[in-house]
Amino acid sequence: MTTSLFSFRRARAILAKEFIQLRRDTVTLRMIVMIPIMQLLLFGYALNTDPKHLPTAVISQDSSPIARAFVAGLKNTDYFSIDHEPRSEAEATEMLQRGDVLFVVSIPPNFERDLLRGEKPKLLIEADASDPVATSGALSAANGMMDRVLKEELKGTLAPLRPAKPPVELRLHRAYNPEGFTRYNIVPGLIAIILTMTGIMMTALAITRERERGTMENLLAMPVRPLEVMVGKITPYVVIGFVQAAIIVAVAWALFQVPVVGSLWLLAATLIIFITCNMAIGFTLSAAAENQTQAIQMSMMVTLPSIMLSGFLFPFRGMPEWAQVIGNIMPATHFINISRGILLKGSGMAEIWPHVWPLLVFMAAITLIAMKRYRRTLD
């Protein structure tokens, strides 16, 4: 009579125990459902990287029709909301300094006269660029506005003053997200981030909880193998991961009209790999953590770089090489690419494969480490 290498009965017993314990832990259950919904609502409604209607001050020292046409043009871009009219430059600077306005538009005296004389008068827009994300959209819109206004205003005898047409016509096509909605980008990334956050922490807690309550000693004294414990402990959280992912996709689709172009089956298949990666990380951390507080701290340490360096909040390509290397090690980075690919671009297996295989490699490696680090004794 020897102890078999893997017993489904033992793994199932652990699994059943975890489900029963989870069912009785109503606080955790509520968190599991509320975290994705809360985050989604916050990110979906509150976060916008292309803000419009920004407060603007205009000092116009020329009341000519063309000067007014420029101000109207700025308004029409939707980026500028002209609600301050300071009387002096000093007052305008103060407004910018205080943060009352993000832009100060100055139209010099004799603007129209100089324009008609061909003296290239200067139209000045000062922007509070301390937050580049807030102002960059508005500034590029201001550039485009210029051509349009000149084309409309310089008619008849003034036509020769129009700027020469460029020999090449530039056409921009914003594929997959024509309106440039930030939430389209955020939601698929949010699946990865929420699963990383809750997945790693819940698994790490599941093991350290046993150690803290003293039940680990009992478990180790019984004939159960590490792989059985791992399978039994992880499976409930894989199910939870799926529930969370389903909530996110459903809410995103219903509330924010985020397109679901690709195959949800493919998303589900890659989700299994991604969730397992996170669980194995949590399992590994739990081997190092002595108690639940430490487990939570360690989970934070792993989760934070996933949020920062995965391309969830900031463009991945904008990061320096070394940061991209770190980012590429993290499963969240690859899964964000996968979920954006499937949901927004309708990518198939062939397109997402470059991000699937790193996940598979990571899963195999981290599972091995988790098994190795699992303590069979109390040493």
């Binding site: 009579m1 020897t2 102890t3 017993s7 009965r9 033992r10 199932r12 017993a13 059943a16 125990k17 029963i20 314990q21 009785r24 832990d25 309550r213 003293g214 039940t215 000693e217 009992n218 180790l220 004294a221 019984m222 004939p223 159960v224 069979r376 004794t377 109390l378 040493d379």
Partner: protein, 322 residues
């Protein structure tokens, strides 16, 4: 390998284990024959729990070797685990599972057949059929201990290791617990049980006394008392505490312990003790008589000895050695 019923269920030699440079168990030998109940005694932090954990494969010894039920305690820990029941010092079943769920979980981990039948029987024996759906965490100390024992013997182990099983349990529950242990031993189960209670030690077939990681003495309670070579005088009277302080100053007196209205005065040299006590015999209001030393006198003497021996070497904390 499977050997046919070895004489000694536990047979370990030279077990040594250190934590943070401190030797908690130091070349410890112990043999426990089949079907016997061995009591495991010693002060807090003497290494009893660590020894039990090494025997059941929860800790890897730094040195030493041995077998448990014929299996190597290091190489064949998995085989050992299947055949023994280990009851931890602190209640270590799942408080957020019901009584029944705990038993079913244990049955599954040991791969037991007839799960429902076994669990039902265990619940009947425990008298917990009506409360089987109650969460284990809601049970009182005595009931928790009974549940833990029931769970430990569910797979019909050949050896039971019990780590202070009756700490914090009322006398009636303790009595019932020991009746159960003796019933199991009669059926051929071997038991090694650590305890601080003298009456429990006297219920064992033999005792092992451990102090500061070393074996001090072992044998039947009678043997141990005789082997200690202790003589004891009992004095009865009023206002004994000042007398106790006086007696402690005598060289021939090893220990002075109050027992209600009595003082137990013990020494290792019978003649010297008598000579030292003689001046006190005629004091007013005191009545003296020589007595068989109780097991507790022996126990206190060993503790005092060990403390003397280690006072120099041991500076600072004598924590509970896990």
């Amino acid at each position: 390998m499977m050997t046919a019923a070895p004489d000694n269920v536990i047979d370990v030699r030279g077990l040594t284990k250190s934590f943070g440079g401190r030797k908690v168990v130091d070349s410890f030998d112990v043999q426990v024959p089949r079907g016997r109940i061995y009591g495991f005694l010693g002060p807090n932090g003497s290494g009893k729990t660590t020894t039990l954990r090494m025997i059941c494969g929860l800790l890897t010894p730094d040195a030493g070797e041995g077998t448990c039920l014929g299996f190597d305690i290091v190489e064949e820990a998995a085989e050992v685990k299947r055949r023994i029941g280990y009851m931890t010092q602190k209640f270590s079943f799942w408080e957020d599972l019901s009584i029944r769920e705990n038993l079913e979980f244990v049955a599954d981990l040991y791969g037991l057949d007839r799960r429902k039948e076994r669990v039902d029987t265990a619940l009947q024996n425990l008298n917990l059929v009506d409360r089987q759906k109650q969460l284990a965490g809601q049970l009182s100390g005595g009931w928790k201990q009974r549940l833990a024992l029931a769970a430990c013997i569910l797979h019909e182990p050949e050896l039971l290791l019990l780590d202070e099983p009756t700490a914090g349990v009322d006398p009636k529950a303790r009595r019932e617990f020991w009746d159960e242990i003796h019933r199991l031993a009669a059926e051929g189960l071997t038991v090694l049980v650590s305890t601080h209670y003298m009456d429990e030690a006297e219920r064992c077939h033999a005792i092992i006394y451990m102090s500061y990681g070393r074996l001090v003495t072992q044998g039947t309670v009678k043997d141990v008392i005789r082997g200690a070579g202790l003589s004891t005088w009992v004095v009865r009277g009023q206002n004994l505490m000042p007398l106790a302080r006086e007696l402690e100053a005598e060289k021939a007196v090893k220990t002075v312990a109050p027992f209600g209205d009595n003082l137990h005065v013990s020494g290792t040299d019978k003649q010297a003790l008598e000579a030292a006590l003689k001046p006190y015999f005629n004091r007013e209001g005191l009545s003296w008589h020589e007595a068989e030393p109780s097991f507790e006198d022996i126990f206190i003497r060993y503790m005092a000895d060990a403390q003397d021996n280690f006072k120099g070497a041991e500076n600072g904390n004598e924590g509970d050695a896990a």
